[in-house]
């Protein structure tokens, strides 16, 4: 049986990991509810943002500028993907659209491999200084930055949804896309914006974890997948669910790896996904809709 401070250590690591999953799940849930597309390339946005920031930083740019430029670049890639790959196939079935986003994900990963190679890239931690001691467990200062990012993103998203016209349009689209269209809301424009926003959110998440995990061209696949698990776990039509699902998955993974075996860390997420899909496909906080999934 592990000691108390070891358990506490797991708790902090799990929450950090969970914060990242929550961010990715948030972007996925947003895109899914606006467009009906499960974006399998979301993880690739994370990798792209992180790697771009690494390159800019190595080129000698100030850290803050690197962050904003990398987010902008990835947001542009997100928009480009929507215009080039998603929009031309807007009338296709959800299954065709998933296959298209898988194609996007494969292409972006290959592109990242061509540009950045297989070596891991790194960024320095945002603040200097050793880890903080909390009740005998070490908390990385970068973890605090990641929590901060989650809080800011959620607050920003909330303000956008509740306070702006476009936020209202998005909410209308989530409730009923056809009705929203009849009210003069352009779903294709919203879909475009959703991909730009998920590119930006993915990039921000990628840059914030790079000091902890390093950035590689293939980091996106697993992160994107974990984002899905988190989104499904929390309930795919629920923004709050994405956050709860993300933290829950992070904790499950770290405790599973710490208490059972680290080799099966990725399997934990898959088991959770299958279990949720079979037992409660609408997720923990999901609304029960009439439509079967």
């Amino acid at each position: 049986m592990p000691s108390l401070d070891q358990l506490l250590q797991y708790l902090f690591s799990g929450l950090t990991l969970g914060a990242i999953y929550a961010l990715i799940a948030l972007a996925l849930v947003m895109t899914y509810n606006i467009t009906g597309i499960l974006n399998m390339a979301q993880g690739e946005f994370v990798a792209l943002g992180a790697l771009t920031a690494c390159s800019l930083y190595t080129a000698g740019l100030p850290a803050l500028l690197c962050f904003f430029l990398a987010v902008l670049v990835t947001a542009a890639v997100g928009g480009l993907v929507e215009r080039l790959a998603i929009n031309p196939a807007r009338d296709a079935s959800p299954l065709s659209l998933i296959i298209i986003t898988i194609g996007v994900s494969i292409s972006l990963r290959g592109l990242a491999l061509l540009i950045w190679g297989t070596d891991p890239h790194s960024l320095p931690a945002f603040t200097r200084g050793g880890p903080l001691q909390v009740l005998g467990a070490a908390v990385n200062t970068q973890s605090l930055w990641i929590f901060g990012l989650v809080v800011v993103t959620v607050a920003g998203l909330f303000a956008f949804m509740e306070r702006t016209y476009w936020g209202k349009a998005v909410r209308a689209c989530v409730v009923n896309r056809t009705a929203a269209r009849l009210m003069g809301i352009n779903p294709y424009l919203l879909s475009f914006l959703a991909f730009i926003a998920s590119g930006a959110m993915g990039a921000a998440a990628g840059i914030f974890i790079t000091p902890v995990t390093l950035a590689t061209y293939d980091m996106g696949f697993m992160l994107g997948l974990k984002g899905f698990v988190a989104a499904v776990l929390g309930g795919i039509n629920n923004i709050g669910g994405a956050i709860v699902g993300g933290f829950l998955l992070g904790l499950l993974e770290i405790f599973g790896a710490g208490l059972v075996s680290s080799g099966f860390k990725d399997a934990v997420a898959m088991i959770v996904l299958i279990a949720v899909l079979l037992v409660r496909p609408e997720g923990i906080l999901g609304m029960v809709t009439g439509r079967k999934v």
């Binding site: 499960l38 790959a85 031309p88 196939a89 009338d91 296709a92 079935s93 959800p94 299954l95 065709s96 998933i98 296959i99 298209i100 898988i102 194609g103 996007v104 994900s105 494969i106 292409s107 972006l108 990963r109 290959g110 592109l111 491999l113 061509l114 190679g117 297989t118 696949f221 997948l225 899905f228 698990v229 499904v232 075996s261 080799g263 099966f264 990725d266 399997a267 898959m270 088991i271 996904l273 299958i274 899909l277 079979l278 496909p281 079967k292 999934v293």
Partner: protein, 328 residues
């Protein structure tokens, strides 16, 4: 006329090992045959029954590992091990199929994907049984009595004989009551159910059949390379199978061969071409092209390439509606 062409084509194909002396080309044809077995099964599942599986490489792997483990660790006969390689994935599919196939569209895609990754993790981590990441060596050659498949040209005939059998089976299935029921489910599950079709049973049968074929292919693959490791059975292979099925065209007999042939040929050409164009590139950079092709096919020809030259107008229309029809 058409059948005469087919016969001539078949004869030329069968004579291939006599004038293709290069083992490289022969091995490519063998690989195409093996993948075709998997993709025919996936084609039944996707093109006929309208369900998707992003975990087909798992069944392929279970078949391969069944042969590897049973022959080397338990000293089973090679033929009985091959039978086990077909039965085991089918049993697994039967067990997971019922709850999984209740899910629709994106949820089914995610569940099968998760299943594939789970099985792949097991191949990597179940060291005592699977040999872990470094895999297992020393798989014996497949032998029917005195006939030992220890040379590439023998394997060529074995694999393509199996493909031919599967062709005939798929053709007959397409014309049977079950095949019609599958197509009805693809067009509208609700309408199929209203017409008295046991949709969950038919979907399960399609799933089991696809797992059975993938397992057969995996077993043959293990006997062909006589070595097994987890890497060919991961997510990218599952995606590649879907890619092959979609590019070739769903709901046809020839689509899978066409899709597999194109993807394998393209992958070999790129392996040769890219180092000349971009000498610094390393790794699986050719996936860029697969991604782009997948996107282009899904945008411009979602019914697949084999629908192109035959029965143009009605086939294209019907085919285009195919993936769409599963949406509603």
């Amino acid at each position: 006329m058409k059948s005469a062409l087919a016969v001539i084509f078949g004869l030329v194909f069968l004579a291939l090992p006599f004038f293709v002396k290069s083992n490289y080309f022969l091995s490519i044809f063998i690989v195409i045959g093996i993948y075709t077995l998997v993709v025919e099964g996936l084609g039944i599942l996707m093109g006929y029954a309208g369900q998707v599986s992003f975990g087909q490489a798992a069944f392929f792997g279970i078949g391969g590992y069944a042969v590897a483990i049973l022959t080397t660790r338990f000293h089973w006969g090679t033929v009985t091990a091959l039978v086990a390689a077909m039965v085991l994935p089918a049993v697994v599919a039967a067990l997971i199929g019922r709850p999984t196939l209740k899910l629709r569209e994106v949820y089914l895609a995610l569940a099968t994907l998760a299943f594939g990754l789970l099985v792949h993790t097991f191949f990597n981590e179940g060291r005592e049984l699977t040999g872990g990441p470094s895999g297992m060596t020393g798989i014996p050659y497949l032998a029917f009595g005195d006939l030992v498949f220890n040379r590439d040209f023998k394997f060529f005939y074995l694999v393509w004989a199996l493909v031919l059998l599967v062709f005939l089976g798929v053709r007959n299935l397409g014309r049977s009551r079950v095949g019609r029921a599958m197509r009805a489910i693809r067009e509208s599950e609700l309408a199929a159910e209203a017409n008295g079709i046991d949709t969950s049973l038919i979907k399960l049968q399609a799933f089991i059949f696809s797992a059975f074929l993938a397992g057969l292919a995996g077993g043959v693959y293990a006997y062909y390379v006589t070595f097994i490791s987890p890497s060919p059975f991961g997510f990218h292979m599952s995606i590649q199978f879907v890619l092959m099925a979609v590019i070739g065209g769903l709901g046809t007999i020839w689509g899978p061969v066409l899709g597999v042939g194109l993807v394998v040929a393209l992958s070999e050409v790129l392996k040769w071409l890219i180092p000349k164009l971009l000498p610094s590139a390393g790794g699986e950079y050719q996936i860029v092209f697969f991604g782009i092709i997948l996107i282009l096919v899904m945008i411009f020809k979602p019914e697949g390439l084999s629908h192109g030259w035959r029965r143009k107008a009605p086939a294209a229309e019907e085919g285009a509606g195919r993936l769409k029809a599963t949406a509603t």
